[in-house]
């Protein structure tokens, strides 16, 4: 059987690797971005000079040959679902028995005046980083529009070259659509400490160019003009599915799939950033645009294709990110406000760079989720506690077991317990200070 996969990102490649583990099928991966799989999440580090492109490739180049995964560096122009074939941009035709669509995203833009000027761009692909390299050469001021995860990465990238950054966000606090106010304002302060000018409650109205068609300033919705030679648009991403028009594959925002990652066509599947669940479960987004979910979907899909049909089940939700120097890990469903019937315990270190939050059900006291900023926490531990609906008091008693900070780091356990006992005297717990010997 010949399996063709469009897209060599984490979704496509993980599918290919797992199919190879499970079977002897012929596998062909087609992609037009780079010849080999690389880590998209590391794009910022290429720009900042922490790594070169080759360091972001998780497998050495001989790996693909050895595992009989054929690679084709080409762009798919069209899918002819009924005939079970693809047309490449250069006209070549490729046939398949089964097709996997894993084409990822493209950056979202809006119809702002001036959006096509030189120096205005999003950040998603390797080509975008190369373009950013060119667009930011010898510039002094940049504007970033949109306060999500890619926006703050872009800000960090530009700051690594001492470019003045104006960061325009719609909300009052950074990523407040997801982060609760306390965490979000902690990050606001950290952004300021990095000399990034955060313009809160601000939206872009228009981009102005100079006589050469290069951006020279932006104007915000309240009429303020900010001079700049670069505009980064990071207001989100859209599924990359334009080439599927007229293919008879059903799409909405993304390629529509069921919980088995099947499209409306038998033998055609989709997953990762480009796919959209027809019936997302409660609280799940319909389009999952994460590295982790792409990987987990791919493991399921490989099983499905190799005959062991099972529904995609992503388990207790988790995610992580880094806001400049502050690491962020989250487990369970954590939004900017506790869900109905839930309460929230929050502790913050006096220096304002470390924090943790635990949400729990008001009646049963079962924990439902965690946020950690500036401290590392064991995923397995958090996962088990949430799954087993462990009561908050027990969690507090055991919290230290989940700490994952390196050795000798300041241990915040007692401080957290102290705050907990003050906030919830009726649940107060007592912990003894344990002595730890350095040797043995």
């Amino acid at each position: 059987m010949k399996i063709v996969i469009i897209g060599n990102g984490i979704s496509g490649i993980t599918t290919a690797r797992h199919i190879r583990k499970l079977s002897n099928h012929e596998i062909l991966v087609i992609s037009s971005e780079t010849e080999h799989f690389f880590s998209r999440t590391a794009l910022m580090y290429i720009y900042m000079g922490h790594m070169k492109y080759e360091h972001t490739k998780p497998y050495e180049d001989w790996f693909w040959d050895k595992n009989r995964i054929d690679l084709l560096f080409a762009k798919v122009a069209q899918v002819q679902a009924k005939q079970k074939q693809l047309q490449l941009e250069d006209g070549r035709m490729i046939t398949f028995d089964k097709l996997v669509i894993a084409t990822g995203s493209t950056p979202k833009t809006l119809e702002w005046p001036g959006v096509n000027l030189k120096g205005v761009q999003g950040l998603y692909s390797k080509q975008d980083v190369d373009l950013m390299e060119e667009n930011t050469k010898d510039i002094t001021d940049a504007v970033i529009v949109g306060g999500g995860l890619i926006g703050i990465e872009m800000a960090e990238m530009l700051r690594s070259r001492n470019i003045n950054v104006h960061f325009l966000i719609r909300e009052q606090y950074y990523w407040n659509s997801v982060l609760p106010k306390e965490e979000a304002s902690l990050i606001n302060n950290h952004i300021a400490a990095h000399h990034i000018h955060l313009h809160t409650n601000t939206q872009l109205k228009e981009i102005i160019g100079d006589e050469n068609g290069k951006v020279k300033a932006v104007i915000t919705h309240d009429g303020i003009e900010i001079a700049c030679q670069f505009v980064g648009l990071t207001i989100g991403v859209n599924p990359n599915i334009n080439f599927l028009q007229n293919s008879e594959i059903e799409t909405d925002r993304g390629v529509l799939i069921n919980e088995y990652l099947e499209t409306n066509h038998p033998d055609i599947y989709a997953l990762g950033d480009c796919a959209q669940f027809r019936h997302p479960k409660n609280l799940h987004p319909a389009v999952e645009q994460l590295w982790y979910t792409g990987k987990m979907q791919a493991e399921t899909l490989a099983q499905n294709i190799c005959g062991d049909k099972r529904a995609y089940e992503r388990g207790v939700w988790f995610n992580s990110a880094k806001f400049l120097d502050i690491e962020y890990q989250t487990y369970g469903y954590m939004f900017n406000k506790p869900l109905e019937g839930e309460q929230s315990f929050y502790w913050e270190h006096p220096k304002g760079k470390i924090a943790c939050r635990i949400n729990f059900k008001a009646t049963s006291k079962a924990v439902t989720g965690f946020n950690f900023l500036g401290m590392r926490f064991r995923q397995q531990t958090a996962n088990d506690w949430i799954k087993n609906e462990m009561p908050l008091q027990n969690v507090m008693q055991e919290l230290e077991k989940g700490f994952f900070d390196p050795e000798f780091f300041e241990n915040h356990y007692l401080a957290i317990v102290e705050k907990f006992n003050t906030d919830y005297p009726e649940m107060a717990i007592s912990v003894k200070k344990k002595k730890k010997f350095l040797i043995w």
């Binding site: 590391a42 000079g49 120097d325 890990q329 064991r378 994952f404 390196p406 780091f409 300041e410």
Partner: protein, 429 residues
């Protein structure tokens, strides 16, 4: 200075001014050293000692100071855009200078006369005897560990493991590998390094050295006893409990230099599978060779020269020449800017080989990974000085138990998702 060869941690801004000042001071120190080498060091030792040591140290410290001004956190900006840390022209030049220095030091010390004389006052003070080329070397070595240790602490100051570990290597280099051996000489005792053991300091279990040390009486016996205990009892025990790191990145002088002066070059280690294969042959090859040599020397000495005859001396000399000098010095340190900072530790050190075997098969130390959090970014693998492809394990959620891991903890420090943690598993209770 063009961007490509600029040495700056960051471009532009006030920090850069400080770094330029640092480079100017450094250049002045180097100039003073060159003048001293051409003879001025012999006529004006004190003056030139302070001029060169003082300005080189001050320059490096000023250069490193911006690390303390930034927000604490990983600062690897521009490492691969800077020729000095990315095998550019400046790196080759530095490698050449370092290699040249080793060659002159080992085989043509007469050309270092000016510099050696410059160290006389310190040598008299510490050891009550005139300086020689090895004292010069020890002084520079210790200085490099201390000054670049300061830089390292600035760079990784968000991470207490790194701070404490670096203070430890600075302490052991200064105290155990520089001051203490000097004081021993002052009191007419054998020169002995309490922080080095067989098989790295192979002589410490060879008949000749033992005879020399023991001939000094009481303290000599203690030294032999100490060496044997460290090699045969403490090493396995400590490695069982903490892994190889208790030595390689906390105590050892070679490791100390690699971690401090070598830190700017850690990303240059080869991560390919091929390099790993070569490493396993060479490092264990050296170990086997030294074990055989040690056994032969003892048999020979028991037979009173019957086994090897005049060969015994040759044998140890050749080992000293090829492994001790060329491998650990010229290639191991001289090529820092080209092959990375742990070439010797990874491909050649017999001590690392033994510790590695314990670590791989009988140790509680491992690097654990935090579930499915890895985003395969590659920072850990890139900055692993031992060339371990840490990411290959992390992205599968596997723990890392590798013979070569020196437990420097940098993979854990640079990981942007908090995936990696160095742990000594506790005994089940």
């Amino acid at each position: 200075m063009s961007k490509d060869i600029s040495l700056a941690v960051t471009d532009g801004s006030g920090a850069n001014k400080l770094q330029k000042t640092g480079i100017a001071l450094l250049a002045f120190g180097v100039l003073a050293t060159i003048i001293a080498a051409f003879g001025a060091g012999a006529t004006q030792p004190v003056l030139f000692f302070w001029l060169s040591v003082g300005f080189i140290s001050a320059g490096t410290l000023v250069y490193a100071y911006p690390y303390f001004q930034h927000e604490a956190g990983i600062k690897n900006n521009n490492i691969f855009k800077n020729g000095m840390t990315n095998r550019g022209a400046l790196a080759w030049f530095t490698g050449l200078v370092l290699t040249g220095f080793y060659i002159i030091l080992y085989w043509f010390p007469q050309y270092l006369e000016g510099l050696i004389r410059m160290c006389d006052p310190l040598s008299w003070l510490l050891r009550n005897k005139a300086a020689d080329q090895w004292f010069l070397y020890g002084t520079l070595y210790t200085l490099a560990v201390l000054v670049m240790g300061f830089r390292f602490i600035g760079k990784y100051r968000h991470n207490r493991y790194q701070i404490i570990r670096t203070l430890s290597v600075m302490f052991f280099q200064l105290g155990f590998a520089f001051v203490l051996p000097g004081l021993l000489l002052m009191f007419n005792q054998p020169e002995f390094y309490f922080s080095y053991f067989w098989p790295l300091k192979y002589g410490y279990l060879w008949p000749n050295d033992i005879n020399y040390v023991v001939s000094s009486g009481g303290l000599g016996y203690f030294m032999i006893f100490w060496g044997a205990i460290m090699t045969f009892i403490a090493t396995p025990l400590l490695t069982y409990k903490y892994g190889k790191r208790w030595y390689c990145s906390w105590v050892c002088g070679c490791g100390g230099l690699a971690e401090t002066m070598g830190d700017p070059y850690r990303q240059l280690s080869d991560k390919s599978l091929k390099a790993w294969k070569i490493e396993r042959y060479t490092v264990h090859g050296v170990l086997v060779f030294i074990i055989i040599t040690t056994i032969m020397l003892w048999l020979n000495s028991a037979w009173e020269g019957g086994l090897l005859g005049t060969w015994s001396g040759n044998f140890s000399q050749w080992y000293g020449f090829f492994i001790g000098s060329i491998f650990s010095g010229v290639i191991g340190t001289g090529f820092y800017p080209i092959f990375g900072n742990r070439v010797w530790c990874r491909f050649g050190c017999p001590m690392a080989a033994i510790l590695g075997l314990f670590q791989r098969f009988k140790s509680k130390f491992r690097i654990t990974t935090n579930g499915g959090q890895c985003i395969s970014c590659g920072n850990c693998s890139t900055y692993c000085e031992m060339g371990i492809d840490v990411r290959a394990y992390a992205q599968k959620g596997e723990n890392i138990i590798r013979a070569s891991c020196v437990g420097c903890g940098v993979c854990s420090a640079v990981c942007p998702r908090g995936v990696l943690n160095l742990e000594n598993l506790r005994d089940e209770k």
